[in-house]
């Protein structure tokens, strides 16, 4: 039923604008795969190329091993769930779901049967005769998915399908989507700029920026072992500290920074003299007096913020504030703004990456 999707040296240009650059990727059979990236990075463009709405300028797309060059969107084994849903407003919900079967010449009885089956799956059994405009946002969302599944695609493509929903519903739909995917067992390619969605649902994630694929990996991988400065700064909160490599040994590097010498993991083979950035997550920064840390940063407090389970400290960094998130154990001292502070971290919690593009501004 399902199939793998292979993007081979994919390049897409719009006139002079290079929207997708040299993407090589193999999305496995039955995988829940997400593209994550900021707005305008080329996610939709890739998806539309896979479904056949725009052609690659260079490179090729294979679905189930077959080159898709020259086949139109109506000939590909893919189905797209549109960002705007694109439900047919004049057709009933059941007619919407069975549209793909109707145009394939499937008989009325069978169509109805399939529609009922899918309606049941999306828990809308008794709502088949309504018009899409008579459904709620979340229900419409599910109808759009059911409509795409009705044609039994090998690959389901979803373009930010949850972006129009409110937060509560979005979280509910995440589990729903995952459940549907496990049930039908086909390949899902999911697009989002919401990292929460990508991290919770996907088997693997591709992080994109300006048309370039920065990293592919599992959620854990991408969070714990970012491959580039962009990924480190885009996925989750992270504190960047810039510096120059002064020593590299046994998987660790030492960096000369504004806060003195700091050490972190060397995942990318940095050599002395390289410009680099050290990333340390807010929850891995602690008050120095509370432990024995091999790295220490002396700076001043800019702000303190209370948030229930956590208390956030904003400290003067080298370019932007350093954020420290402390678990609220009832013993966190109150700092006045401008007062000196010392925070520390363990070297194996920090990752050092070549200096490069950041996700901020």
């Amino acid at each position: 039923m399902s199939a793998n999707v292979e993007l081979e040296n994919l390049n897409i240009r719009f006139g002079d604008f290079h929207a997708v650059k040299d993407v090589n990727l193999n999305i496995r059979d039955g995988e829940f795969f997400s593209f994550l990236g900021p707005s305008g990075c080329g996610k939709t463009t890739i998806l539309r190329a896979v479904s056949g709405f725009n052609d690659p300028t260079e490179g090729a797309i294979y679905i189930g091993g077959e080159n898709m060059l020259g086949s139109g969107p109506n000939e590909r084994p893919t189905a797209l769930v549109f960002q705007s849903l694109a439900l047919f407003p004049l057709m009933s919900v059941a007619d919407n779901i069975s549209f793909g079967l109707k145009v394939r010449g499937v008989g009325k009885v069978q169509r109805r049967k399939k529609a009922d089956e899918l309606l049941e799956m999306i828990a809308l059994s008794d709502q088949g005769d309504k018009l899409p405009s008579e459904l709620s946002g979340g229900q419409r969302q599910r109808v759009a998915i059911a409509r795409a599944l009705a044609v039994e695609p090998k690959v389901l493509l979803l373009d930010e399908p949850l972006s129009a929903l409110d937060l509560k519903l979005r979280e509910h739909m995440r589990t729903e989507l995952r459940r549907i995917q496990q049930r039908v067992g086909i390949t899902f390619i999911y697009i989002t700029h919401d990292q929460g969605e990508a991290l919770t649902m996907s088997d693997r994630i591709a992080v994109m920026s300006h048309g370039v694929m920065q990293q592919v990996g599992s959620a854990q991988d991408i969070y714990d072992n970012p491959a580039t400065s962009f990924v480190a700064s885009f996925v989750g909160e992270n504190n960047p500290i810039n510096g120059t490599v002064i020593a590299a040994e046994e998987g660790y590097v030492s960096l000369k920074t504004d806060f003195g010498e700091l050490r972190g993991r060397n995942e990318r083979g940095l050599q002395p003299g390289d410009r680099a950035t050290l990333f340390i997550r807010p929850q891995n920064l602690c008050l120095s007096e509370r432990g024995d840390f091999d790295n220490c940063i002396q700076t001043t407090v800019n702000d303190q913020e209370f948030e229930g389970e956590f208390e956030h400290l904003y400290l003067a960094g080298d370019s932007r504030n350093l954020v420290v998130s402390l678990i609220n154990d009832g013993a966190i001292p109150q700092f006045s703004n401008g007062s000196p502070i010392s925070v520390g971290f363990h070297s194996d919690r920090a990752v050092v990456l070549p200096a490069g593009e950041m996700a901020y501004e």
Binding site: I12, R13, F14, G15, D55, P56
Partner: protein, 337 residues
């Protein structure tokens, strides 16, 4: 000479089609030629429907006939057997005729036709102004003061008379203004006059009938334009001490400019191209320019001459539209809504 038109026209047409298809959404797609993309986007059936329809309509109904009419207006009036023969050469005699009359005439200019021409243009301008003056208050009332129920009623009432055939509308004015018509009866009954007044000869019927015929085309553009004006702007102007009539000249009318331009263009164009109303309501001694054209095609039996006259009329209309666009600083798209 007629052999010249077809190749030229085909070239222009082919050029247009190729240009259109080459430029076809160039920027929107990544690869492939424009035509291929067009085919892929629309499919074979829809593509051929679009291309055939547009070829048929734009090319064979809009462009070629107009071009041929230009060509035709420069030809001699020949019987079919001589067309394409040695006598079939270009001539400007048809246009000279409008200006100078037949070569044998003693007058330096063809005053008869030139006068009719100027009178038509002038009368069309007058009708346009009358309509603007008549419709502006109503459009303003509909747009800014009327409640929605009243508005629907008024719109319906405005539309109704215009589904009545234009001949019948002119006929109604003939009944009103004829020598035994309603107005003469009323005036005589009141003892104001003792002889029927010849309203038709005085062209009163014609002006009233023409203004009547195109009211709708003035009122709706005006209404649409005024309707989009925020009422609080008018109130603000009043509040700042602007007298009511200046509110109209300084706030409402400048805002409604596209509507005024649109209405005036339509009314002018239709009045100077009117044929039925002048035929029915025109006095025996006063002709409308279209009536002369009609005569060349009908009793006069000189089609090229009629085509030349028609072309002059068309040029005047084009000049008028361009002048309005300039004067009111509106775009073509705003005139046609």
């Amino acid at each position: 000479m007629n052999n010249l038109l077809l190749p030229i026209a085909s070239l222009i047409g082919a050029g247009l089609v190729i240009l259109g298809l080459m430029f076809y959404r160039r920027s929107q797609h990544a690869t492939g030629s424009g035509f291929g993309h067009f085919l892929r986007r629309n499919g074979v059936f829809v593509s051929s429907y679009l291309i055939l329809s547009l070829l048929g309509w734009i090319f064979f109904m809009i462009i070629l006939p107009q071009l041929y009419m230009v060509d035709f207006s420069f030809s001699h009036n020949l019987p079919p057997s001589k067309i394409g023969g040695p006598e079939d050469v270009y001539t400007t005699q048809n246009y000279e005729y409008l200006l100078f009359g037949s070569p044998g005439s003693e007058d330096a200019f063809n005053w008869l036709h030139l006068k009719v021409f100027l009178r038509t243009i002038l009368a069309a301008v007058v009708v346009t102004i009358i309509d603007l003056a008549l419709c502006y208050p109503v459009a303003y009332y509909m747009a800014q003061s009327a409640s929605s129920g009243k508005l629907r009623m008024m719109a319906l009432c405005l539309l109704l008379p215009f589904w009545v055939n234009e001949i019948l509308r002119a006929f109604a004015f003939r009944i009103l203004f004829g020598s035994g018509g309603v107005f003469n009866n009323v005036l005589m009954g009141m003892g104001l006059i003792d002889q029927p007044v010849d309203f038709i000869r005085a062209d009163v019927g014609l002006y009233a009938g023409l203004s009547y015929a195109y009211l709708l085309l003035m009122i709706f553009p005006l209404y649409n334009a005024i309707e989009s004006l925020d009422h609080s702007q008018i109130e603000a102007a009043k509040d700042l001490g602007c007298p009511w009539w200046r509110v109209h000249f300084e706030v409402v009318m400048p805002f409604a400019k596209p509507g005024i331009a649109s209405g005036c263009t339509m009314v002018f164009m239709l009045s100077c191209g009117a044929l039925a109303a002048p035929q029915i309501l025109g006095g025996p001694s006063s002709l409308w320019f279209t009536q002369i054209i009609y005569q060349w095609f009908n009793t006069g039996g000189n089609w090229p001459l009629g085509a030349a006259y028609a072309l002059v009329l068309l040029v005047v209309c084009i000049i008028f539209v361009m002048a309005v666009m300039r004067l009111f600083k509106v775009s073509f798209g705003e005139i046609i809504k």
